[in-house]
């Protein structure tokens, strides 16, 4: 007789652990470590003082380099999480203001994390169904600007109506932006990668047109109007400089819902089957065209929602179009999370905290925030080509699946 694992009720922790071990935790940890190491070397290598130190002596050079790397990453951490000593002192004092000040970096990092969760989940959802959504950026854009439109056009609505309405408008716009390439792929076979790239640039130009044209604020050129108060997302610390808003929880909810759909419903079953083996899916009677269209549309809808949440929770108005990078980083987030919606939360936190912390790092150490992009590129480089990590650290090849006969 065969042994079976005792049937445990699934909880998130179990799911996490299972997924982490499946996507080979060692590789991920080493990839992140190596990425940071190379980033540190780059930081040291581009700092003139380090060369001066090396001229004094080799040891001095090394110690100065290490010091610089330490300072860089510790201020990165402090920027993203906050200063531990201040945090302890604030907790001890129990004063609201001190607490808020001490935890501000952490809370602000969560604000930056929010759109990453959305877009990461959006891209992961597409990957699971076998479509590559490179257009999260454009979908986010369109979602944001149309949510803004809904935010100022409707006046006198109570927030309980206005906020969902504006979010729905943004989501729907993103849905349409994803539907078009999805439909084109299903009906004409046009590759979704090219089409989502094209849709990105259509979105950039179109939103720019809106900002300079019909949506322009008569008083401040190149900016849209402000949205009505009634469309603002609830902020937890209203009246302070802390911007943490309910959007984070919407994002978490979306991640959980998508996880639920993917792993607990017949839709998800179809998505994953088509993503893994379109032929067998056809054999099983699954309509793969429908899955392709739906997956890209849903992926677009989530990205659109990301834009809407960012608009209603943080920006309140759209200024001139500038690439946010959320959509492209989302590919890295999904990849790092092995396309699992719940793991996307963790990797989105990693990227969000890096992104926010880097600002403090730049002020303290003069290392530009762009080092974050470089770190991200290194990390997905090693995740995508694990053979390189295995070579560097002389890890063994994973055993092929054993065949119990």
């Amino acid at each position: 007789m065969t042994k079976e694992p005792s049937p445990k009720k699934e909880n998130f922790v179990n799911v996490f652990l299972e997924e982490v071990s499946r996507s080979s935790l060692t590789i991920i940890v080493l990839a992140i470590f190596t990425g940071f190491l190379l980033g540190g070397i780059l930081a040291a290598g581009t700092t003139p003082e380090i060369y001066d130190a090396f001229e004094v002596s080799f040891g001095k050079g090394i110690s100065e380099s290490l010091k610089l790397i330490w300072e860089t990453y510790s201020s990165l951490l402090m920027g993203s999480f906050g200063n531990p000593s201040k945090m302890i002192a604030a907790v001890a004092s129990g004063e609201t203001k001190a607490l808020q000040a001490a935890f501000k970096p952490f809370l602000e990092s969560l604000v930056v994390t929010t759109p990453y969760i959305f877009t990461g989940v959006a891209v992961a959802l597409g990957f699971q169904a076998g479509v590559f959504n490179i257009g999260a950026e454009g979908q986010l854009y369109m979602g944001a600007i149309m949510a803004a439109w809904a935010g100022w056009t409707f006046k006198g609505l109570p927030p309980i109506v206005h906020v969902p309405l504006a979010l729905a408008v943004g989501t729907l716009t993103g849905f349409v932006w994803g539907f078009i390439p999805g439909w084109l792929k299903a009906k004409t076979g046009a590759h979704e990668v090219i089409n989502t790239i094209m849709m990105n640039y259509i979105a950039f130009n179109f939103s720019e047109y809106l900002i300079r044209g019909p949506f322009e604020d008569p008083e401040t050129p190149f900016k849209t109007r402000f949205i009505e108060e009634s469309a603002h997302l609830y902020r937890f610390f209203e009246g302070t400089s802390l911007r943490l808003h309910i959007g984070l929880f919407i994002a978490l909810a979306v991640a959980v819902i998508i996880w639920y759909i993917l792993y607990k419903t017949t839709w998800g079953f179809e998505f994953r089957s088509v993503g893994l083996n379109p032929y067998a899916s056809k054999y099983a009677g699954i309509n793969s065209s429908w899955v392709t269209i739906l997956a890209l549309s849903l992926s677009g809808a989530i990205s659109g929602l990301a834009g809407a949440v960012e608009m209603l929770g943080v920006n309140f108005r759209q200024t001139q179009a500038l690439s946010t990078g959320y959509g492209f980083d989302a590919i890295a987030i999904a990849l790092l999370a092995n396309n699992h919606p719940l793991l996307c939360i963790i990797t989105a936190i990693l990227f969000g905290f890096l992104r926010h912390g880097s600002r403090v790092m730049q002020i303290n150490t003069g290392i530009p925030i762009d080092i974050i992009s470089i770190l991200q590129a290194f990390i997905i480089f090693f995740i995508a080509a694990p053979a390189i990590i295995r070579t560097i650290y002389r890890l063994k090849e994973p055993k092929p699946a054993n065949e119990p006969v």
Binding site: T2, K3, E4, P5, P7, K264, T265, T266, W267, G268, F269, R272, S273, L276, N277, Y279, A280, S281, K282, Y283, A284, G285, I286, N287, A401, N402, E403, P404, V405
Partner: protein, 520 residues
């Protein structure tokens, strides 16, 4: 005269399979040597070794008396060996000349192509061997028969002395085959030597100078067509020792379940794959479809199960027309399908066993309520089936990719048999399985038949068809040549039919048989 090519003791092992077992072969100059054998007998492996695509584990290759090392196609080309692959190695958007000269380009100074000179050479070869090819035509505009001639020109352009042709007639119409034989005779008349791989006995009798029969990686016989007995050759080719014996009662056929009328199916390139066939399968009987791979069986099954569109004709299942139904509608009528390519069509390899066991029922009760999957029910189902069908695994959560071939097939059988089914379409259900699994699956098929299920069994394994089927339809070139009672036909006769030879069943015997219909 010394042979132009000699293979001595060629042995090739793949994991678990001895593909070539000390094969000796001699090819004389100016002759057509046929390698005759069933699919999987090791013919293609042998030729891939000769062409440098595989390295042999043992043995040596001797050309014109000198041992040579053939480690890559480049070596083979240099040694004067050329191969026409079963799947043409032609680039559709290139012209004939471009395809022919690729790798051996005629150039002027600085690598500039001299297409005109190459085209003249192509024209010259075409004229010399009466191939009738326009050097400037695009490959994608040429019919398959002419494409094959381009492949031949490719070899002649490289001055190949020894031409290997791997199943050259598989993709051709009968007329094109006749043309091909003429070309082959032109070639040997001008001093070339040809190795001709095939499993079609009729063709061998028609065009070969000498025949080498290969079975299970070994040379089992040699003959000359003028004096050979086709029956004996057929027996040699398919005559592996009978190792499987299935106990079964006489069938008690009921009402027709599957009706096929004048079905014609075209491939994407408009080639006729299934040509105006009609048959029926009744409840409680197994209709076996015998035939060499590539004679339309794959397309027939794909069409019956809704994976491919019919060009004309009518399919009905249990009285309901399903000619234009999609796979799900057909499945829901109570049709089960064991697909030919189980890893591509039948399973999602990376998914766990439990999901694969509900691959086409996941949306039905009890596995789903509304759109919510009922994981408990899915797992319970999996546990039951794992036990009932003896799938060897550590648990239903294991990905199917971690199972052996036999257990993978059991997953499919378990899934398809666990539904209430009226019709089972099984395509190559035991291909590549070990003896134990084969026996198991055979038993299950008979059980289903006895329970009143109609079964269409498509197999290239003659033994399998003969043992399981109650009636046997032989497919050749997209047509059903005949449908006969399984008890009243011998293996040799079926072998001849599979090779397209219809006249060999003597009239006397035929009378004694209940031959239900003959469609030619």
């Amino acid at each position: 005269m010394a042979p132009i090519l000699e293979l001595r003791g060629i042995t090739k092992r793949f994991p678990g399979v001895l593909a070539n077992d000390h094969i000796d072969l001699k090819l004389n100059q100016g002759e057509i040597l046929a390698l005759l054998g069933e699919n999987g007998a090791g013919k293609t492996t042998l030729m891939n070794i000769l062409y440098g695509l595989y390295a042999p584990d043992e043995g040596e290759i001797i050309i014109k008396g000198k041992p040579v090392q053939v480690k890559s196609p480049t070596d083979a080309i240099r040694a004067g060996i050329g191969m026409v692959h079963q799947h043409f190695m032609l680039i559709p958007v290139f012209s004939v000349t471009e395809n022919v000269m690729l790798g051996e380009e005629y150039t002027r100074a600085g690598g500039v192509l001299d297409t005109m000179r190459a085209a003249n050479k192509v024209k010259e070869i075409s004229n010399q061997f009466k191939l009738n090819i326009d050097p400037y035509a695009l490959i994608e505009d040429l019919p398959v028969g002419l494409q094959q001639r381009v492949e031949i020109i490719k070899l002649l352009f490289r001055n190949a002395e020894i031409l290997i042709m791997d199943e050259p007639s598989a993709v051709l119409t009968p007329q094109e085959v006749e043309e091909l034989f003429k070309i082959m005779h032109n070639l040997i008349a001008q001093g070339k030597s040809i190795i001709f791989i095939t499993h079609k006995l009729r063709e061998v009798m028609e065009c070969a100078d000498r025949i080498l029969v290969i079975r299970s990686g070994k040379v089992v016989g040699e003959a000359v067509p003028s004096s050979a007995n086709p029956k004996k050759l057929a027996a040699m080719m398919v005559g592996r020792p009978v190792e499987l014996n299935v106990q079964k009662e006489t069938a008690k056929p009921g009402k027709p379940v599957l009706n096929v009328e004048n079905l014609t199916i075209l491939a994407k390139n408009k080639k006729v794959e299934v040509d105006d066939i009609s048959f029926e399968v009744r409840a409680g009987e197994i209709l076996g479809v015998a035939g060499v791979q590539g004679n339309g069986q794959t397309e027939l099954v794909r069409c019956l199960t809704g994976l491919m569109k019919a060009e004309s004709g009518k399919i009905s299942i249990l009285g309901k027309e399903t000619t234009h139904s999609d796979p799900r509608e057909i499945t829901e009528l109570g049709v089960a399908h064991i697909p030919e390519d189980r890893q591509k069509d039948g399973l999602v390899l990376q998914s766990p066993i439990q999901d694969n066991l509900v691959l086409n029922t996941y949306y039905q009760k009890p596995f789903a309520k509304g759109i919510v999957l009922q994981k408990d029910a899915i797992i319970k189902n999996a546990k039951n089936l794992v036990r009932a069908f003896d799938i060897r695994t550590t648990g239903p959560g294991v990905p199917v990719s971690g199972l052996s071939g036999g257990n993978q097939q059991k997953v499919i059988v378990a899934r398809e048999f666990s539904r209430p089914i009226k019709l089972l379409i099984a395509s190559q259900p035991t291909r590549g399985l070990d003896v134990g699994s084969i026996e198991y699956i055979h038993r299950r098929l008979i059980e289903k038949r006895d329970a009143g299920c109609a079964i269409l069994l498509v197999s290239t394994e003659l033994d399998e068809v003969m043992q399981l089927a109650d009636r046997i339809a032989v497919m050749y070139n997209g047509k059903i040549l005949t449908i006969v009672d399984a008890d009243l036909v011998t293996k040799e006769e079926l072998g001849l039919l599979m090779a397209g030879i219809t006249t060999k069943i003597s009239a006397k015997k035929r009378k004694a048989r209940k031959v239900r219909e003959i469609v030619t």
